[in-house]
């Protein structure tokens, strides 16, 4: 049994040994790291990461490697060896390392700037701007970037964009104050660019620029505001000239708001705008577009408060609308009466409507009602009247001439006249009218067909036709 217990003990020992052997390279790396041998630790951890199949410890090893790099960087940083330190901090690739990496890059950039190596300096500064945004050096970095953009790139737009960032995020800083001095030096150039766009009538583009500059004005607030006012005024005048009135008032108000010196000119233009709206309303009223006419008049009230002309015009338009509505109602009544063959009543209704709204359509209805009144009351007399009135009375005039000639040539007893005779035809509302003159050498047997509904007069024989033609 003693031997067996001994075997048992050996087995436990072997087991414990094997247990301690799990993840040996990792444990070794950790041990080296704890001993402060950072370079060696990095090598061990690199090797472990390369070969390990344990996913969890592999990731932990990466973190430990980052710590080792950070410590290596810190050692270099302490002796102001910024370039080597930056390489280690970069390889550490952690937020903690970033807090010193930005300092290293900034120092390297400063040296490059001192050596007038702008490209190199900008590379490092750009890295800080775009990849180390939480850097406490950011205001100085942005300022340095502005210096490069001005002195090396000669790009005032890029410098201005950088200045915007500086102002948005780091306004209360010394770097911002210094940058403002630089921006002031090229601000007139930027304003001049807006001026060029204004001159080319690119108003919206010019205003975009100016408003941008207004947000980041450096020391040119008054100049920029005045120019914004002027651009708005010019734009409004241009639109007024082209009769594109929708935005004119707004732009004029803006113009005065940004440049109070334009107050008198703006007032003049507002009055002009109001008069255009009044004229436009009058035209719409003529076109019987009453709603839009009133709307046009009302727009002037937005421009000039208590503008009496507009009130009068609106009242007139409303009265016009009322009369039109009343006429329409009367026409409706007249139509109903007409449909019921009450032609006289219809005629009266149409005539009344015409007093309210004198339009040709109602006039035509009056004529129609009159025609049918005559057709229904005394068609025969109406038929004779049509013939007599035909072509401005050409028929009675011709007959009179004929009779006069006959009386000159013959005695009274030789001439026999049978005046206007009316005969109903087979066609509804059509009548035959006859007029007969008999003289010794000729008989004039004149006949016409009259259609009462249309007022049409048709000669029925050659004699009649010839007589009228002559």
């Amino acid at each position: 049994m003693i031997v067996r217990n001994k075997h048992f003990f050996i087995l436990i020992l072997i087991g414990t040994f094997l247990l301690s052997c799990t993840n040996l390279p990792y444990k070794k790396s950790v041990k080296i790291l704890k001993e402060g041998k950072f370079s060696e630790a990095v090598q061990e951890l690199d090797a472990y990461i390369e070969t390990s199949k344990h996913p969890a410890f592999k990731e932990k090893a990466k973190e430990l490697r980052s710590q080792a790099y950070y410590q290596l960087g810190l050692q270099e940083y302490k002796i102001t060896n910024y370039f080597e330190a930056s390489e280690y901090f970069f390889l550490a690739n952690s937020s903690k390392a970033d807090s010193l990496l930005d300092n290293c890059y900034f120092e390297i950039a400063q040296v490059a700037l001192d050596d007038l190596d702008y490209l190199k300096a900008s590379d490092y500064l750009s890295f800080i701007i775009f990849h180390l945004p939480e850097s406490e050096k950011m205001p100085e970095v942005l300022y340095a970037q502005i210096l490069i953009q001005i002195n090396y790139s000669k790009d005032i737009h890029a410098a201005y964009v950088t200045y915007q960032i500086l102002q948005n995020i780091f306004q209360p800083s010394n770097a911002f104050a210094q940058a403002t001095i630089i921006v002031n030096s090229f601000m007139p150039l930027l304003i001049e660019e807006a001026q060029v766009q204004w001159d080319n009538e690119w108003y919206a583009e010019a205003l975009d620029k100016l408003f941008l500059y207004l947000d980041y004005p450096a020391d040119f607030i008054t100049e920029i505001k005045n120019m914004i006012g002027n651009v708005y005024y010019t734009w409004a005048v241009s639109l007024l000239h082209d009769r594109e009135l929708d935005n004119v008032q707004t732009y004029l108000i803006y113009a005065e708001e940004y440049n109070p010196q334009l107050a008198d000119q703006v007032d003049d233009k507002l009055i002009e705008l109001a008069s255009i709206y009044i004229a436009r309303g009058d035209n719409l009223l003529l076109e019987r577009d009453i709603d839009n006419a009133i709307s046009s008049y009302q727009k002037t009230l937005d421009i000039i408060k208590e503008y009496q002309v507009a009130y009068n015009k609106i009242a007139r338009a409303q009265e016009f609308a009322r009369r039109i509505a009343q006429a329409a109602q009367l026409v409706e009544e007249g139509d109903a009466q007409f449909d019921n063959a009450e032609y006289t009543a219809a005629y009266d209704s149409y005539s009344e409507a015409y007093k309210f709204d004198s339009i040709p359509q109602i006039y035509d209805k009056i004529n129609l009602a009159y025609t049918w009144t005559r057709i229904s009351n005394d068609p025969e007399q109406y038929a004779i009247e049509i013939v007599k009135q035909y072509n401005d009375g050409i028929i009675p005039d011709t007959i009179d001439d004929l009779e006069s000639t006959a009386q000159n040539n013959y005695s009274r007893q030789d001439i026999r006249i049978t005046p206007w005779q009316v005969f109903q035809t087979a066609t509804r509302n059509s009548y035959e009218i006859r007029y007969t003159i008999v003289i010794p050498d000729r008989t004039y047997f004149l006949r016409w067909l009259v259609r009462l509904e249309t007022g049409e007069v048709v000669p029925l024989n050659d004699a009649t036709d010839e007589l009228l033609a002559s």
Binding site: R4, H7, F8, L11, I12, I14, G15, L18, L19, T22, H54, P55, A56, E59, K60, K62, E63, S66, E87, F90, L91, N93, S94, Y105, Y118, L119, S122, D123, Y124, S126, F127, I129, F130, H131, P133, E134, Q149, Y152, S153, K154, D155, H157, A158, V161, T162, Q164, I165, N168, I169
Partner: protein, 197 residues
């Protein structure tokens, strides 16, 4: 919030900032001098950090949930198969437990048998019986010893295999937690796929 605002502004303004620089400033240029781990551009560098941060979040969970090799080995020493059961390796645990119970039971059986033969051997009076009981007692005792030896081997194997079983458990735990973490970042909704950063 300030950081987000800053990044947004930087992003919005980055194009004109670069486009207008005649020198073609490139923040990645400085990385070309020091390529390691594939970080030849800032995107790779930042992605690598992001990955590590995510993996460390998983590692933290894993570290809390992982099983100890020592604890599981002690379990297997005390009760054969317990360590395997702890790691979810039930089949192997049952087989090893069954085998050990069988071997221990058999050893005990043969040991009792040998004791019986030995008692009979001591009480026997005939020379043939004495010889036979002696042979039988010895035989049973040897069988019992062999079975004890086998039991010890299986027990030892069980304890040692618990290490590998625990290792496998921990490895699988990592992958499970990693998948859960990544799936937690991506959710499919009626509005579409959302990725949480």
């Amino acid at each position: 919030m300030k950081k987000i605002l800053f990044i947004i502004i930087l992003f919005a303004l980055s194009l004109p900032l670069h486009a207008k620089e005649p020198g073609g400033f490139d923040s990645d240029a400085i990385l070309q001098k020091n390529i390691k781990y594939g970080w030849d551009n800032a995107t790779n560098w930042e992605n690598s950090r992001k990955d590590l941060q995510e993996n460390m979040a998983v590692f933290k969970q894993w570290d809390n949930k992982k099983q100890s090799h020592l604890t599981n080995c002690l379990k297997s020493m005390i009760a054969p198969g317990w360590g395997h059961f702890s790691t979810g390796n039930y089949l192997k645990g049952e087989i090893l437990l069954g085998l050990q119970v069988l071997l221990a039971g058999s050893a005990y059986y043969f040991y009792n048998q040998s004791q019986d033969y030995y008692d009979k051997y001591k009480n026997a009076h005939q020379i043939d019986e004495i010889n036979q009981y002696y042979i039988d007692a010895n035989s049973s005792y040897r069988t019992s010893g062999i079975l004890v030896g086998l039991w010890i081997i299986v027990w030892g194997y069980t304890v040692l295999d618990t290490i590998q079983s625990t290792e496998n458990y921990n490895r699988n735990l990592w992958f499970t937690l990693y998948d859960e973490y990544m799936n937690g970042k991506i959710s499919v909704t009626a509005q579409g796929i959302q990725i949480r950063f």
